[in-house]
Subunit: 258 residues, 4 copies
């Protein structure tokens, strides 16, 4: 039996007169779209267009909620109370949910954006709030987060379906965390290696550090395509082709995560 995997990418980060990302170039190769909800990027016009285009490409629709910070693109840490954070997430997920309904699809998943995602990856309290917000809106929504993060843990605790994210083009340390972007070995640039690493992660639940150590992963459901890289589309294309050549079944989370 072939192993399935999803390719997810941030989308819909344009705003008004401002264009960002290469959504149309990337859409043919990915299987899930994390769509901005107007807090760090996106606006109702962009959300409508993004959901429509994703849906037309058979790509799973996800909400990509954030801190309320358009000028800072959601990249500035904020100190919010738990109730506040929860309600900000419900608001955004609800807004995107409506666009999904309008286009006849369901909201497949939620992936948290930016500074809030970094906080929720390691802070159990914030991760719990995130999981709780998703479950409150619709317990069928998949919670997409880095494998091994507090978000994955919190999602399981709340009974959510979870999607464990792997970074094919990033190196990990021996604790299974991503190397800082400042580390000289942070990036895996060789496209063949990114395919090889993903296949290994899928089949053996293992990633190899720059020092050659084998580190155990919990499992992998989706690979992150960095939408803000100028090479997003070409990376998605190469990775998808490489994975399919290796017999991996690339398809949306909603078709296999249970």
């Amino acid at each position: 039996m072939t192993v399935p995997v999803d390719l997810n990418c941030d989308m819909g980060e344009s705003f008004g007169r401002y264009t960002l990302g290469q959504d149309e170039e990337v859409l043919p190769y990915v299987t899930s779209a994390n769509i901005a909800c107007g807090y760090h990027a996106g606006d109702p016009m962009v959300m409508d267009k993004s959901v429509r285009q994703a849906s037309q490409n058979g790509v799973g629709i996800g909400a990509h909620p954030s801190y309320p910070d358009l000028q800072g693109f959601g990249r500035r840490p904020m100190n919010l109370g738990e109730e506040e954070l929860k309600n900000f997430l419900i608001y955004q997920i609800g807004a995107l949910h409506a666009f999904a309904r309008v286009h006849g699809c369901r909201l497949q998943h939620v992936k948290i954006h930016g500074a809030l995602s970094l906080m929720a990856a390691t802070d159990a309290g914030i991760a719990d709030v995130a999981a709780q917000s998703i479950a409150a809106v619709d317990p069928e929504i998949i919670f997409l987060a880095q494998a091994g993060s507090e978000m994955n843990r919190a999602g399981q605790d709340k009974g959510l379906k979870i999607a464990r994210e792997f970074f094919a083009d990033r190196n990990y340390d021996r604790e299974g965390n991503l190397l800082s972007r400042k580390h000289p070995e942070a990036l895996v640039k060789d496209r063949e290696k990114t395919v090889e690493r993903t296949v290994r992660a899928l089949h053996e639940s293992v990633v190899i550090t720059p020092e050659g150590e084998r580190v155990k992963l919990e499992g992998v459901d989706t690979v992150c395509i960095h939408g803000d890289s100028p090479e997003a589309a070409s990376f998605a294309y190469d990775l998808r082709n490489g994975l399919e050549r290796e017999g991996v079944n690339v398809k949306p989370l909603g078709e296999f995560v249970v």
Copy 2:
């Protein structure tokens, strides 16, 4: 058989540090709440609280979407394209929809706010966009608008359930339109008369002008309580008691509009 009627009131128009309205005083006497969605007023904290309180009081939950204009409280006419308007409405309705789900209730109705409502009352194109936006999110949502308005017409055209609104404390002209607030006879201040007028509207589908003419209404499903009046709660109390004394069955739209 007793005739039913709903009493609706705008709510959740506080924002952050700013408090507006007398939601808690009014809630015991009304049956439907039009809750701001963050565009002219309200924020996710206020929306959450408003939905919870309305639900605890057995009051029907409605979205009260607006032009995007917090500083102008949605009272400034804006020139938006149809697509833009549609997506702004979907966004807001979706956000409130999520809070309804979170509190275990459904979104009973939508009532448009402020300058957009004034435009949509007489502009068929805008009214059509409003009705279309509601239908796109969920065709079961009731569209609440002034009896005889283009919104009521548009809602019917799109197959929506509609709720025809009556203003018990406002005088009408012989065309069935509200007298301008500047007209000396604009307001009906006598509480007994507001009861009497509502009963007549319910039983005979008639309103009497200041000159004594009987004007035909299409029908009445809900009476507007002006939440921003300091007398909102006392008016709601008197009107409800008066109506119940006259045998009218005061209850949420969702229980009788089909």
Copy 3:
């Protein structure tokens, strides 16, 4: 020779449809107004009105800049880079400066608002950025901050005129810091005592702790009137009368701070 002191109060914190504070009641008794600049509160209409009213009452005009956070009223700590913070401050000070020009007055002072003020009181780097921003716009502007704070230090370092703020209705600890609001002795409620404490601070540069210790202050130029207290006007009235009775010369900072 009589000793001078200023009474300062936050003002102009209304926004659009939302009203906050008792500006008109307080204005006759204070001598300096800290006017919100649109980031945590206030809008151009409110700024215009506040500057006009302050000016008509002979009250010194001050900018009251904040983090950009209307929904959180500037009370949520934010993590901003130094350049960002500096430019946010310049923007707000400049905007208020223009309203001062329009009304024929100069910008007398700047007082930082909310969470940013709390940070800048103890964080030397943030205090330096604040002082630098003020100096960059106009080195004649007085920097108003709590006596002994990092802001006072930074203002002196940058060659700014500084105004040292005293809290007549708050108790201090032996280090000269305000007791936390949660402390049972935090507030000094007796109006006569607030006069007495201010006079002592002005004449002897001393404040007495709840335990009876005499703590040295650097000096006092202005006393804070908490505009968001329902008793703001009556407190300002009593304090001003009491101070004048004791021979203190209550007048705007701009008339005596050098």
Copy 4:
């Protein structure tokens, strides 16, 4: 004696993570920059950078205020009261003024943006409010607007220095108005012709319509470079070189408008 002219271009229309325009490419060839003030585009970081770069290139600093409409880029007509509009303009001009001070330059001019500019070009009341707002902040500021517009008239009425704008790459009708962009002859694409037309406008105060009629202009002080065209820099370069070749003295408004 050589005739002087200014080349003006919109700048600083980036926002947060979003980049717009080719400011750095255009700056070497223009002499005045119309810098966004945060209402339709721009933020304090962008304003600071734009003022610094313009100043370093010897380019005159102008404020480019707008309706408050970031999502619509100031291109949607709004219905604002006169007081509201005036205060919105003062706020924006003041904010940019501060950045000019910080960088040791003065605010040379104001050019209104987008939908508000279109309204003010023909609506005497709006034009008066615009001129009044500028005069109130600083009567030395030059008011830059299309030659023959209501803004030019209003500026003169208020005693402002005015800069009359010519569109070298646009055709005019026999009333001296720009042909609609939808008109087949709207654009003058030939670079040599744009030079020739500008020289004629400068020396003879005349523009020739597509039908060959000579139409009288009042005079020309500045030529508009459309910053949002991908050819902005190359157009500015060609026009400037062409004008200088013809003996025109290309320099900032502030050096010759009186």
